[in-house]
């Protein structure tokens, strides 16, 4: 069964940590009572414990899947885990801005005091959704980041400015979403036309099994309505061919949206696979949209032509499947997440000369893969279930494309001479052009098919009833 999934890639080297995505998302969707603390999109600094605190540590929250007796089981089925509290996210606050205008005129500047948005009482702010911005407080929280596993974290924490990068996060609209399985009310569902995971507000009764089961903690409980809510991948925009709010507003142009075709029948098998193979197999499940057999099967399974065409132009297909530069976040949660990340090389700098200036001989201008400041193992723990080879493969190609254009622009080599570096890294000249256009220039960052109602799409309604619309 071939299905289409609308999906996203974020290129982390380009993220400047401005939080514009978070703020625009907030203003569009969650600027409401009951959701003050909820950020469907947030940007974290790594290393760090994130939002909510230590969300990656499933020993605390019990999110995701485990394989037991060769069966996929929700972790929350096996043991009781605690719910995230408000303080694990943060207590939402605002300031008494109106007092700036109403205070008596005195010598001092007027001040706005912080107040708790729920109780409206003064608050001593202790934490926030981006509290660890630019590694703030790393000396206190840094060692709790689980991605240090297998890394000599003491050295990195001692010299804490050795590396850092931003990690923007939304719901991953997983192929094997545990939130859907965990809900006893069947409130959550994966849209069959584009794979967006939605939470039906009519069915939800606020049991919060979804909040617990989501290992990324991207389902939020609205205490005002008594129901849970989550990122909707801005489906009203997507349906009209427009990108999500976070993508549209992204200053660094780091986000790419596209369609991928995948083999639905293999989801369970792959979710159960050996940890070290999870990334490789997730790539396998994504199908080649240029393969006529795949296209024929997609048509038979009701995927519209607009989606098939979009899949052929999809930046997600190229970055995750073809070039293998994008990676899923924490694949070991066995959710098959469909938001991917191109890991950061940062910082791509050279050595200091005796005058303290950045300079180096030619061979040092671009670092070697093993000379990066950022520990490969750390990235592998975050994006490849610990498999360093997957990360190296990605970073090597990212370096190769930089090398290729440097050889042309600086060393004045012709394209075929410079192209050797591409061939060494399984890339072609066409790949280089497309990568340059997408990653450097940031053109055509979203290829989104619109839903045309005149098309007869075989969409299964929940419960399995086939309808035509």
């Amino acid at each position: 069964m071939v299905r289409a999934q609308i999906s996203m890639v974020m290129v982390l080297d380009k993220c400047i940590g401005c939080h514009t995505c978070s703020v625009t998302c907030k203003n569009t969707w969650t600027n409401r009572e009951g959701m003050e603390y909820a950020w469907w999109n947030d940007v974290e600094t790594k290393p760090g414990i994130g939002y909510p605190k230590q969300w990656e540590n499933q020993e605390i929250y019990g999110g995701g899947w485990v394989v037991k007796d060769n069966k996929l089981r929700l972790r929350i089925e096996l043991k009781e885990y605690r719910m995230p509290k408000m303080d694990d996210y943060y207590t939402p606050f605002t300031y008494t801005y109106e007092e700036l205008f109403t205070q008596e005129i005195v010598d001092q500047q007027p001040t706005a005091e912080p107040i708790n948005m729920i109780t409206e009482e003064p608050i001593d702010i202790q934490w926030g959704p981006n509290w660890e911005d630019d590694l703030a407080g790393l000396n206190e929280t840094g060692s709790l980041d689980p991605n240090w596993n297998g890394v000599d974290k003491e050295i990195y924490l001692r010299y804490k400015d050795v590396f850092m990068f931003y990690l923007p996060r939304i719901c991953n609209h997983c192929l094997n979403a545990p939130c859907i399985t965990a809900c006893p009310r069947k409130s959550l569902y994966k849209r069959e036309e584009d794979g967006i995971v939605l939470l039906d507000q009519e069915r939800c009764r606020g049991y919060r099994y979804c909040v617990q089961a989501c290992p990324y903690k991207k389902v939020y409980y609205n205490w005002k309505t008594g129901k849970s809510e989550k990122c909707i991948f801005c489906y009203p925009l997507i349906e009209t061919g427009q990108p999500t709010v976070c993508t549209w507003s992204c200053v660094g142009k780091i986000r790419y949206i596209g369609v991928v075709l995948y083999d639905e029948n293999r989801v369970e098998e792959i979710a159960k696979a050996d940890v070290k193979d999870l990334v490789k197999l997730q790539r396998e499940i994504i199908l080649d949209p240029f393969n006529p057999d795949v296209v024929n099967q997609a048509r038979k399974d009701g995927v519209p032509e607009t989606f098939i065409k979009a899949a052929k132009e999809s930046p997600v297909y190229y970055m995750f499947k073809k070039w293998e530069i994008a990676l899923p976040i924490h694949p070991e949660f066995r959710t098959l997440p469909m938001v991917f990340y191109v890991p950061p090389l940062n910082p791509v700098i050279t050595t200091l000369d005796e005058k303290g200036l950045l300079s180096a001989s030619y061979s040092d201008i671009l670092p070697k893969i093993d000379e990066l400041r950022i520990p490969i193992k750390y990235l592998a723990n975050l994006f490849a279930a610990g498999n360093e080879e997957e990360v190296k493969k990605s970073l090597r190609k990212l370096l190769a494309i930089r090398e290729f254009f440097r050889l042309i622009e600086v060393e004045k080599l012709n394209r075929s001479e410079a192209g050797k570096v591409l061939i060494d890294n399984d890339l072609t000249l066409e790949d280089a052009e497309l990568m340059y256009r997408w990653l450097a220039l940031g053109r055509e960052r979203w290829i989104i098919p619109t839903r045309k109602t005149e098309l007869t799409l075989k969409i299964g309604e929940r419960g399995g009833v086939r309808i035509k619309w």
Partner: protein, 315 residues
């Protein structure tokens, strides 16, 4: 003189055979019901029933016990393998029925603004919508639904229906004030069917909850209670501190609640206090109004015409 109906002999024979067939299993002790439902009486009181669980009246009544055990049939299961006891008593005063429930709970879990990790302690009582046959104890079935009153600390009381969802056409569902398409196996009944009032109090490691509703119901999926008759009930209870919500709960077995007959014949007035929702005036009410109104207008016109006619004649 009342004429005695002619009873066909055939009918008498068939009736006798059926009675005989029904008696055979009883005689050879084949159980026809799976569980013997204990009977508890809802006492008649000739006074207003207090909503406050700390009112002296509740202290004077003798409580019955219901044994509950963790639900282990469907996901999500209760993690509590032990049993619990609910104490309860029911009274009615001819117009209203009340159920007082109390249970031990060492932690007070109340849902409050900003509390994301708190699951309110809760209790529910389930009734068959139709009294003809006991419904499936696990929240009814399509052809035999159940009515559930659900109270949760910090949230309040809700009147719900379960099981009926897929057994009704969209038109029937709309007429009953439900969503056209079933939203879930258990649904909140429309506002005019929210006839329960409730109050819960927590002290001395104990929850005490009083649930009160009028005996009569105007909604098809909410049973009417009648003094002198019986209704089946079953309890469920949730301990929030154990993370209990949804199917993770403790449930009991069916019991029979017999409403004591009102002390004075004819005193019981089975009527609802709920107002019919103002969804426009029905045509049946409008027709007499229109007819009377039109008659009055025509009469007035004729009278004026006659008066003017007389005057003209006179002039």
């Amino acid at each position: 003189m009342v004429k005695t109906p002619n009873i066909d002999k055939k009918i008498v024979i068939i009736f006798t055979i059926m009675l005989g067939l029904a008696l055979v299993p009883t005689a050879i002790q084949i159980p026809m019901v799976t569980a013997q439902a204990p009977t508890v009486t809802s006492k008649y009181v000739n006074e207003d029933i207090p909503l406050d669980p700390n009112h002296a009246m509740w202290k004077e009544l003798q409580l019955s016990e219901a044994l509950l055990a963790g639900q282990q049939l469907v996901y999500p299961f209760s993690l509590d393998k032990g049993t619990r006891t609910l104490k309860f008593v029911s009274v009615h005063n001819g117009t209203h029925l009340a159920i007082y429930i109390e249970w031990d709970d060492e932690t007070m879990d109340v849902e409050e603004p900003g509390k994301l990790d708190v699951f309110g302690d809760a209790v529910a009582v389930q009734f068959p919508v139709y009294q003809t046959e006991l419904p499936n104890i696990c929240m009814g079935t399509v052809d035999n639904p159940v009515n559930i009153v659900f109270w949760k600390a910090g949230v309040g009381v809700q009147n719900l229906v379960a099981g009926t969802g897929y057994g009704l056409s969209p038109e029937q569902r709309e007429a009953l004030g439900l969503h056209k398409v079933p939203t879930s196996p258990i649904e909140r009944l429309p506002d005019q069917a929210q006839i329960w009032d409730a109050k819960g109090v927590y002290d001395n490691n104990k929850w005490k909850v009083v649930l009160i509703r009028p005996l009569g119901s105007i909604h098809e999926l909410v049973p009417t209670f009648r003094p002198g008759e019986s209704v089946s009930i079953v309890f469920a209870q949730w301990d929030g501190s154990k993370g209990e919500r949804a199917g993770a709960k403790a449930t009991g077995g069916w019991m029979t609640l017999k409403l004591e007959a009102a002390a004075i014949e004819g005193e019981a007035v089975v009527e609802t206090v709920t107002e019919v929702p103002a969804e426009g005036i029905p045509l049946s009410t409008l027709i007499p109004v229109i007819v009377i109104g039109l008659g009055a207008v025509i009469g007035l016109v004729i009278a004026i015409a006659l008066i003017f006619g007389e005057r003209k004649k006179g002039s």
